[in-house]
Symmetry: C2
Subunit: 347 residues, 2 copies
């Protein structure tokens, strides 16, 4: 049997209450007594039973997710996973006494986002997870939360200067570099210009992906020629227009890298003129549309981050911060997944 507080108390010759005070670093214990208890703890190899402690405290972890209510498939999937994590019928929801709530916020509305952050803070949650937008208002709001001791994790798009405790998402510079590496390899030998379609360069993650990608294309013996970046606002319709024009006007186009959303438009443009499809097409995030395009050979590879992993990881990390315990960084690292048609997950 693992030693319990009783064993510690007996070993140290004190009462349970004193052991508790020492274990929780509370005041009102003589230094000498404290020593005795600590000695007993290490001697017996005591480790606190967190489950029992939480039961006694009837603690529950209120975690708030603030997500853009945009309509892109990735955010939809993320929302679904957050709800699933909070479902009391599941392991995390049940066993781990979580109370997950979800606040939708108009997409890219920095004022609304800052307000939502402040409001969430009022409820005194155990932690807050938010898809950050790169704006001073948001940065300040996160700073206020942090100052009040509420751990904040950014999701998908980071805001390091805000003081957030954690970022759950991929390294977007590395993602861009990865796309660059694939592009080079898929185009081996061949020359011809490469196009990039972004959502908006005001988005930090898009800027980062672009910079990593451009970096890799420029380096090495045979640099690839990068066309001026197109911005489609993550909107399928605008993206389709841009892509169709691109394909029509650049006959020797070698590759396309779409680093934002709105890929439905790109896919439509590609399937409208299959004979002019460039040799390599790369895009981000798995959705029914991108899956299908990959399976159909319209797209060569999809870079992705797993929304289920992001949701679960944010919860685990925020819980750990709330408890003051540690977590396994390797487990919480969000991978840059590369999907070809052959390693697609089922479903």
């Amino acid at each position: 049997m693992r030693p319990t507080v009783h064993d510690i108390a007996a070993e140290a010759g004190v009462s349970l209450a004193t052991v508790d005070r020492v274990l929780n670093a509370r005041v009102g214990v003589r230094a000498e007594t404290r020593e005795r208890v600590q000695a007993a703890v290490t001697r017996l190899g005591y480790v606190r039973d967190v489950a029992a402690a939480n039961l006694a405290k009837s603690r529950s972890y209120a975690i708030r997710f603030i997500l853009p209510d945009g309509d892109n498939p990735f955010m939809h999937a993320l929302k679904a996973h957050v709800l699933q994590v909070g479902d009391p019928a599941t392991r995390l929801g049940g066993l781990e006494r979580l109370a997950v709530s979800l606040d939708p916020v108009p997409s890219l509305d920095v004022v609304a986002l800052a307000a939502a952050l402040d409001r969430a803070g009022e409820q005194g949650p155990a932690g807050i997870a938010v898809v950050a937008v790169d704006a001073p208002e948001v940065e300040a709001a996160i700073g206020r939360l942090t100052a009040r001791g509420i751990p904040v994790a950014t999701l998908v798009s980071d805001l390091p200067a805000s003081g957030r405790r954690h970022f759950a998402g991929i390294d977007n510079i590395a993602a861009g570099r990865t796309a660059g590496g694939l592009m080079r390899r898929f185009l081996s030998g061949r020359s011809g210009p490469v196009a990039v379609i972004a959502g908006s360069l005001t988005l930090r993650d898009h800027r980062e992906r672009l910079s990593g990608f451009a970096d890799v294309l420029a380096q090495g013996a045979q640099a690839l020629n990068l066309l001026p970046v197109l911005e489609g606002g993550d909107d399928p319709i605008r993206v389709e227009t841009l892509a169709a024009k691109l394909i029509a006007e650049v006959p020797d186009l070698a590759g396309i890298y779409s680093l934002g959303a709105g890929d439905r438009g790109l896919i439509r443009a590609l399937s409208a003129a299959p004979e002019r499809r460039p040799q390599a097409v790369l895009l981000h995030e798995l959705s029914p549309h991108t899956r299908q395009a990959l399976e159909a050979g319209l797209v060569d590879a999809v870079l992705a981050q797993d929304p289920g992993h992001i949701a679960r990881s944010a919860v685990r990390v925020l819980r750990a911060f709330a408890d003051g315990t540690s977590f396994d960084p390797a487990q919480e690292r969000i991978r840059i997944d590369i999907f070809l048609k052959d390693n697609l997950p089922p479903g």
Copy 2:
């Protein structure tokens, strides 16, 4: 507050004991009483607090891992992760009352493996995780465990016919296909033969990878020519010999796919004659050696499965089986990771 057994008892007008009997499907309750309790449960939306239940039962989950004590880096990493999962100081070890133990078994010794399985079963564990070897003795031993109601999960290499409840590892046919897809793309346009180095074709996972790879190379307009498979016994020294000979004797060699272990030998052979390196080199599993080779440009891509994920997943799944609860299949799917030099995890 979430409703508790007390609320149910009050609502149904019975005692706690009766509620407990109904909740745990124990005998000795009149059908009519049972109905009343169940009605109260659904009316109040009761869900059992698993943590409290486990506390009361002072239940702990004994999970045994049976792993080959071979010296390859992947198995080493897997072992380390298993130990970490079992560490009482971690979340899983502490909060979740696990007692993980590790039985090493001589690599590829089917008799010893079967004996270890039988022995593990004697201890009455909550679950057993094992790296299966494709042999009738092993299959039978797993069958005996399953028959006794002990859930078994195979790790890395599967044995579906054994009756194991779960497999934690990648789909190796898909992994082979993925390697094939990368090989085709990396060799786009270029022809020339492609070599495969396996450990041993008596290993199910190696056979499966080969079959998926060969499949993809053969299909499509321009089939790639596959040389006869080389078997290096997962031994760096034998692999080095084979690879060196291959590189020397096949001047127009376009690609190499190493689908087993012993890659240290392959890497040595490649760096000994860098000017004759084929255009595409693919191999499996991340290790200090393969990382370095990737970074040095000696290897183009590494396919991998995350040993940390496998260890954690096996524990979660076996616990779920022991409890008769469900788990999230998407969370437990082991991904076929593709690493280029640009999306390598840190460390």
